[in-house]
């Protein structure tokens, strides 16, 4: 036992271990890798193709959306199928601000988030009345209302033919971004969102939500205000979804009402469940499998280039197999691999040096 505490003291003093133990360490490394990939794409010829860059941006945007839903499902125990409609609304609001006012991106985000707070409060109040499947279908109906509004001919959304001609965003009034540099904007946004999510999960708010998820009556008895935290959970989810939509419109430079469908909402839900509910690395992996794998990896393999539908079937099979075999999601798989490797290492030590005293 004495040795154990001595070990801990040594580890705390060791600067390398001190930094690697920081919860943000992995995300910083991931961000650096992503920066290097984009720099390789910009300054070399052909090592990284445009498809991969696009796939990474797509994954990053949907990761933000999925993080919001992950807090909603994993922390607050509520489900929503309204993601597509919310994301679409965010895209149109941001698109209009960019197109007609061309303000710096920070103002676009503030405007979108303000609208998201209003929408989130409305959905939060609804969630007090209905639960479970009914909530799933109600949020679906809300999203369908929004989508029908997008499709009706008007100036705000461009009707069924879509909304085009959005300029790339400006940073700080004078730095004009282009397609390559918007990648970094999305990356920074994702990083901020991850830090925010980590803080929400660790805060008293996150813990109160977790209590509410396991038993609402018990949480109420402990003095947790259900109304406040339900509304807060929905506000967080809609803000994340609408900021995702804003980044989408900034990168794609337009939006069509036909991209916001029930299938998109279901895909976001699948990405969260597939990755592992409530786990940030899981959500990143899940959204990569759903939104990035096809473009980034499978399109480069000769077999899948020949049979394009095969890649879609592959991802469908992957979803089914992972959910049947690993109900805990990819995050659970990662932990199992980690534990397995550690066990192997211990076995190897025993084999090499003999049993420790």
């Amino acid at each position: 036992m004495k040795n154990y505490y001595k070990d801990l003291r040594d580890k705390a003093a060791n600067p390398i271990i001190k930094y690697t133990r920081n919860p943000l360490f992995g995300y910083v490394i991931l961000a650096l890798v992503l920066v290097v990939i984009q720099l390789l794409f910009m300054f070399t010829d052909g090592i990284i193709s445009l498809t991969i860059s696009k796939a990474i941006v797509q994954t990053m945007i949907y990761t933000i959306v999925c993080l919001g839903l992950s807090i909603l499902i994993g922390r607050a125990g509520l489900t929503s199928l309204g993601t597509a409609g919310f994301m679409g609304l965010g895209a149109y609001i941001a698109g209009n601000i960019l197109k007609f006012a061309n303000l710096p991106f920070i103002f676009v985000v503030i405007g979108t988030a303000a609208a998201a707070v209003i929408l989130g409060v409305v959905v939060g109040f609804i969630s007090l009345r209905v639960q479970g499947r009914a909530l799933l279908i109600i949020t679906l109906a809300l999203s369908e209302i929004l989508i029908e509004l997008f499709k009706t001919p008007n100036e705000f959304t461009g009707g069924a033919s879509g909304f085009t001609g959005v300029p790339f965003p400006k940073l700080m009034m004078f730095i004009q971004l282009n397609r390559e540099t918007t990648y970094f904007l999305v990356l920074v946004a994702l990083f901020i969102m991850i830090v925010l999510t980590l803080n929400i999960i660790k805060s008293p708010t996150g813990r109160a939500m977790l209590t509410m998820a396991s038993s609402p009556p018990a949480a109420q008895a402990m003095g947790i205000n259900l109304l406040k935290y339900r509304i807060l959970a929905f506000v967080i989810a809609t803000v994340y979804a609408m900021i995702g939509g804003a980044l989408y419109v900034a990168y794609v430079q337009g939006a069509s009402p036909y991209s916001w469908t029930l299938l998109l909402s279901l895909n976001v839900l699948v990405a969260v469940v597939l990755g592992g509910v409530g786990s940030i690395p899981g959500v990143i992996m899940g959204s990569f499998v759903i939104f990035g794998l096809d473009l980034a990896v499978l399109k480069n393999i000769a077999f899948f280039q020949k049979y394009t539908s095969a890649s879609v079937i592959f991802s469908g099979l992957l979803i089914i197999i992972i959910i049947i075999k690993y109900p805990g999601g990819l995050a659970r798989l990662l932990r199992d691999i980690n534990v397995g490797v550690k066990k192997l290492y211990v076995k190897w030590r025993v084999y090499r040096y003999g049993q420790e005293a």
């Binding site: 109600i138 679906l140 109906a141 029930l262 839900l269 099979l317 959910i323 109900p327």
Partner: protein, 293 residues
């Protein structure tokens, strides 16, 4: 008033398709405890089969109707026996699995049937004109055929549910799976059968729908599915008949909304449904359940 009723009569084929689809969703939900989002795409596969049989072999559409329903029945059986049965017990997990099925079947349809959209045929051509309460209406014969087939099939399923041994087994499984298994009911067979029958119901509804609209493509049932899910919640998931009645109410509201404004009718419909569910979260025919701590 005359035009509202006329719009409703023109949408009679939609009522038939929605009632059958909702019946299927209610059946799988009650026995297997999962909302089957893959219902629409299974039905689309059935329509494709029927259309391809007519186009490739020149067989009569009546034979194609039964082949299409049979294919849907087999797909439903396959889904349950091979995939759904082995899924963990969480409800969200099973919904996710049906989504995986949607992705796979959507990708398989162009491979099996080719990229060209098919056409479907009306089983009866011509209209029926009649007067009701001194107002003149017109209905296509095909719509009348669809609604009567739907009524017969749904009536048949209900009488089977309440008057046969099989129906007793289904209701027992729906009420409590574990107790039903202890009482000697083969719950695996019951769930598999209810999946198969609900898929076949969806397939029949989709073929009737396609016979009126004559378009066969992958996204043909998108709006029908959303309306069916809504009518499922609107009617309440406690009974078998609630969702079916809900699926009749929704087209009535829709035809009323279409009179106010053609463009805004879907929005008005969804807002009305939203308000109704907010007032009665358990659905029109449901009882509110109290939860013990």
């Amino acid at each position: 008033m005359q035009s509202i009723i006329q719009i409703f009569f023109s949408n009679l084929y939609l009522v038939a398709a929605m009632a059958l689809t909702t019946m299927g969703i209610a059946l799988t939900f009650k026995t297997a405890r999962s909302v089957n989002f893959a219902q629409a795409i299974t039905a689309t596969a059935g329509v494709y089969t029927a259309a391809a049989v007519v186009a490739k072999t020149g067989a009569s559409p009546w034979i194609a109707l039964f082949i299409g329903i049979g294919v849907c029945f087999l797909i439903g059986l396959f889904f349950d026996a091979v995939i759904i049965r082995h899924t963990s017990s969480t409800a969200v997990g099973r919904i996710m699995v049906t989504l995986g099925l949607i992705i796979i079947v959507t990708a398989l349809i162009p491979i099996v049937f080719g990229m060209i959209p098919y056409e479907y045929f009306r089983y009866f051509s011509g209209n029926v004109d009649f007067t009701l309460f001194g107002m003149a209406f017109t209905v296509t014969k095909n719509s009348l055929f669809s609604i009567s087939v739907a009524a017969v099939v749904i009536g048949g399923i209900f009488s089977a549910l309440y008057f046969t041994k099989w129906g007793l087994g289904i209701r027992a499984t729906a009420s409590n799976k574990n107790v039903a298994a202890m009482m000697g009911i083969n719950t695996h067979r019951m769930t598999a059968l209810s999946w198969a029958i609900s898929s076949a119901c969806g397939g029949l509804g989709a073929i009737l729908y396609a016979s009126q609209t004559s378009i066969v493509d992958v996204g043909m049932l998108g709006s029908v599915q959303i309306s069916s899910l809504l009518s499922f919640v609107l009617g309440g998931d406690l009974t078998f008949y609630g969702p079916v009645i809900g699926s009749v109410i929704i087209p009535i509201i829709r035809s009323g909304a279409a009179l106010i404004s053609g463009v805004w009718s879907p929005v008005i419909l969804y807002v009305i449904i939203l308000l109704v569910i907010l007032v009665r979260p358990q659905g029109l025919f449901g009882k509110s359940a109290r939860k013990k701590v």
